[in-house]
Symmetry: C2
């Protein structure tokens, strides 16, 4: 049976400060939990309607639909919810492959989509500014669909990180060079900016190559591409060659 | 002042059957409303905290923050909400340019993103199966950011539509040919499938060319790309050449 204090703990994990205090995050649904169990992530507790996973007795808590509804961050709760330990993640000292860098991405769905894209396109390291949304946010974990187990997400002071690397850095700007006509190096960092403001002034100074996706419509009103769809197109351009 | 019956009407427009019955849809926020006002869409009523738009007196209703909160479909209500008439949209008889076709896309956010992508990449016509989410759903309208005024979205029996066209049809399948190595024709239809099941069997038979985006990660577990990000990459491939 699920205790009141467990429900209180889990709902508190919607907030970053409680995730950090407890060193725990929430994953929901069989697919995501299974992938986390198959990876290096460490299970703390599993709450489920039946014993569907092979976990030790003291890690398993039988939960009914009402309990799961109280704990869930989803509109439609799944049949299982798990707590995992937040791992210590860091980078190798020097990177020599394509790395994605996020400067202030705020939307959990965008970060989740970008982690999935990194997984698809074989990008192992995703470096986020400290003001980028936390990758252990329940919505991010949900939308990564398990990709979080294959992409190393780290939070860094971006200016220091970029200065410490010898790689060419590509940044996306409206006035950047047409990415379709540009020779892209594979050993590089690709910097994507905030949803509303793009790349910050501090980071812009550290970008070696400005690139953009040309617009094909005639209208002045057309909104720029969303950061997740733009990342999809840039990663596709890096890998297609 | 906003009447109770107006609030009741507006909240009912979250459902497709009431949108169809009343021939109206909801748009929220200054940017989206302004773009609709600048287009061929016809305003029915505007509710706002102040007279920010140049509309006739009988179309304007002064609304306070509390009213807007009751009417809004957003977590954070905007300072303006408007009702527009649902237009009659149809296609030219014969298409001779790149057209996107959606077979059963269900998520409003995905449809909104795809409409924005069509706008960016200059795709004028988006043909949706009857079971694709309604483009006048408030969440779709919101996420299109005004692109709905520049993309002609029509709902059709897809099998009949595809049979009536002479264009080559590209469909996205896991086992399709590598899109990076394929010569793509510009006068074509690009068919994208449902989030969970892809393109339906009925439509698969009508596809002339199966294409795919290669996966660059080694893992068997990697989830296939989301329909909106895949559409971004395919449209980029069509236009880059």
């Amino acid at each position: 049976m699920v205790s009141k204090s467990q429900i209180k703990l889990i709902t508190s994990l919607g907030q970053k400060k409680y995730r950090q205090k407890n060193g725990l995050f929430v994953a929901e649904g069989i697919k995501v939990i299974q992938e986390l169990l198959n990876s290096d992530f460490q299970l703390e507790k599993l709450f489920a309607c039946e014993a569907i996973f092979d976990v030790s007795e003291d890690q398993f808590v039988l939960a009914d639909v009402r309990d799961l509804k109280k704990m869930s961050f989803l509109k439609t709760p799944q049949t299982a919810l798990a707590l995992f330990k937040i791992p210590q993640q860091d980078l190798e000292e020097v990177l020599d492959e394509l790395t994605v860098v996020l400067d202030g991405v705020r939307d959990p769905g965008n970060l989740g989509t970008i982690i999935r894209l990194c997984d698809w396109f074989g990008v192992k390291n995703l470096v986020c500014s400290k003001d980028t949304v936390d990758c252990f946010n329940p919505k991010v974990i949900q939308s990564t669909m398990g990709s979080i187990t294959r992409v190393n997400v780290v939070y860094k002071n971006l200016a220091e990180f970029l200065q410490s690397q010898d790689l060419v850095s590509y940044g996306t700007f409206m006035e950047g060079e047409n990415v379709y006509q540009k020779k892209l190096r594979q050993k590089a960092v690709l910097v994507m900016g905030n949803e509303a403001n793009g790349i910050s002034l501090e980071i812009e100074k550290l970008i070696s190559e400005k690139i953009s996706i040309p617009q094909f419509s005639q209208s002045q009103e057309t909104e720029s591409l969303n950061v997740a769809t733009a990342t999809a197109i840039f990663l596709s351009e890096f890998r297609r060659k």
